[in-house]
């Protein structure tokens, strides 16, 4: 019996296998979309609970990994939408406060932890677009669909996020 069928039949060990295989990917997505590992952790639990309940509706027309990812993404998007200020408002005010005098050429590559931390600090609005486009690899049209915004807005949000990251990583707020 394959894994999904076993879970449907109530085999919790099978569900644990599913969890072990996919949790890291979904947790990583949740942390970055939500902006903190604490929220990411809670989202992860909810995602898998929901997955457990809804496994009955998995038709097998995609891989189980893709199905889980979509479920997780939708869950993260719901969470993000219910919290943030409206993105449209933000696009009108791409801040100019990222300008500063360039100093020495960048010496060392950006450390992963620093970048993760900087991504968490991104304001909501541009963070989701950045995560979906630059991290998860969706194109601007797809990001626009997922977030319910215009394609141009997705482009400007991603631009804004990159500039903010540049500011953070150079030690500015």
């Amino acid at each position: 019996m394959d894994l999904v069928a076993r879970v449907r039949a109530g085999d919790l060990d099978a569900f644990e296998s599913l969890y072990r295989e996919h949790a890291a990917r979904l947790y990583t997505l949740a942390c970055r979309m939500a902006g903190s590992p604490e929220d990411g952790e809670d989202l992860l639990q909810e995602i898998f609970l929901q997955a457990y309940r809804k496994l009955g509706s998995f038709k097998g027309d995609s891989s189980i990994g893709t199905w889980l990812y979509r479920l997780a993404l939708n869950h993260c998007l719901d969470y993000v939408r219910s919290r943030r200020a409206k993105m449209n408002k933000l696009t009108e005010t791409l801040d100019a406060d990222n300008s500063f005098e360039p100093t020495a050429r960048r010496e060392s590559p950006i450390a992963r932890m620093d970048l993760e931390r900087a991504v968490e600090r991104l304001p909501e609005g541009c963070r989701e677009a950045f995560v979906l486009h630059d991290v998860e690899g969706f194109d601007h049209k797809e990001v626009a669909d997922l977030l319910g915004i215009a394609e141009g807005t997705s482009k400007s949000q991603v631009f804004k996020a990159r500039m903010k990251l540049r500011g953070f990583l150079r030690g500015q707020r």
């Binding site: 219910s82 200020a85 449209n88 408002k89």
Partner: protein, 340 residues
């Protein structure tokens, strides 16, 4: 919070709640909470205070870790120059001198860390709580410190590493200690000043006030059940504040794109903001009022069809560029947005 549509709940006004609906009784738990008669609490010894002193110095290095765990008694930690941990402790009892020997002060000395704790011989708190131990500890000022007492106050001054200070019954006070991560009490006040923390600060009490002055942090988490929350000269990116019977005041600045959530029951929420670039405000109060010195544009954007326009008690409004998010709820208190 997406809640029941208006039309459905309107019928409630007809008083159709079941007769048995009452507050969930907690008397069962309360019975359990009431302390059993314990020998230690009877016949309090009234003799003269007997004391015993303890003194130890341990080399640590500039940025090691120090932990102090106590049961009954105050803990005072000060950051100093130098690279050693200097521990002074005073055991006290009003009972017999011999009781002092029942409590040992244990110092674990390992590379990069020093752990100090009190150990009670019988292993049960209740039998020996007529002996208290007060600690006065000096640590290298770059050390990180974790301090815990059960019945006693905690005070940390001038320590630059990461600091956590917690007690069940007593005050927690820090000053000139920039990287406080957690400061908590159950029955006591939490008072902090001079925080400069790249990360998160969590400060709470159950029955006591939480006050912080001069705070710069990424995320602030403030809570009390019956106590006030007040932060002044503050700037942070995120805020979560909650109290049941107490007020909230935030005097400082908010960050662009910051997220600020406040939830009170009977207290007043007061934001005094210095030059905010903008925020979107969602404010709700049942019986209080909402007012603002800053000019607000009423009405958010699409919202889930619950937009009823502004009334005195429920509002979505925008100021400036709307970049930060303020979500403020109080049941019977007022909501005030003032400018500095």
């Amino acid at each position: 919070m997406r809640l029941t549509p208006v039309v459905v709940l309107a019928a409630l006004a007809a008083g159709t709640l079941p007769a048995g609906a009452q507050d969930v009784p907690h008397r069962h738990v309360v019975r359990v909470l009431r302390a059993e008669r314990m020998g230690a609490y009877q016949g309090r010894d009234r003799g003269p205070e007997q004391t015993d002193r303890f003194s130890r110095k341990v080399k640590l290095g500039r940025d090691g870790r120090v932990s102090i765990g106590n049961v009954s008694g105050d803990i005072t930690v000060t950051g100093g120059s130098g690279d050693e941990v200097s521990i002074e402790a005073v055991k006290r009892t009003r009972g017999d001198q011999s009781q002092l020997a029942n409590v040992r002060i244990v110092v674990d000395d390992r590379p990069g860390r020093v752990d100090v704790r009190t150990e009670y011989d019988s292993g049960r708190f209740t039998r020996n709580n007529n002996v208290s131990v007060d600690f006065t500890v000096t640590v290298p000022n770059g050390a990180s410190v974790e301090v815990k007492s059960v019945s006693g106050s905690v005070k940390v001054t001038g320590v630059r590493g990461a600091v956590r200070g917690e007690t069940v019954s007593g005050d927690v006070t820090t000053s000139d200690t920039p990287r406080v991560e957690a400061a908590k009490s159950v029955s006591g006040d939490v008072t902090l000043s001079g925080i400069q923390n790249d990360g998160d600060l969590s400060a709470s009490s159950v029955s006591g006030n939480v006050r912080a002055r001069g705070v710069k942090a990424h995320a602030l988490d403030l809570g009390s059940v019956s106590g006030d929350l007040a932060v002044s000269d503050v700037t942070c990116d995120r805020l979560n504040a909650k109290s049941v019977s107490g007020g909230f005041e935030y005097s400082g600045s908010i960050a662009r794109g910051g997220v600020y959530d406040v939830n009170l029951h009977s207290g007043t929420v007061r934001f005094v903001l210095a030059n905010p670039t903008g925020f979107e405000l969602t404010a709700n109060t049942f019986s209080g009022s909402i007012r603002s010195d800053l000019p607000l544009t009423i009405g958010g954007t699409s919202g889930a069809g619950r937009q009823r326009g502004a009334n005195n008690r429920s509002m979505r409004a925008t100021f400036g560029d709307g970049s930060a998010t303020l979500t403020v709820r109080t049941f019977s208190g007022d909501i005030v947005i003032a400018k500095r």
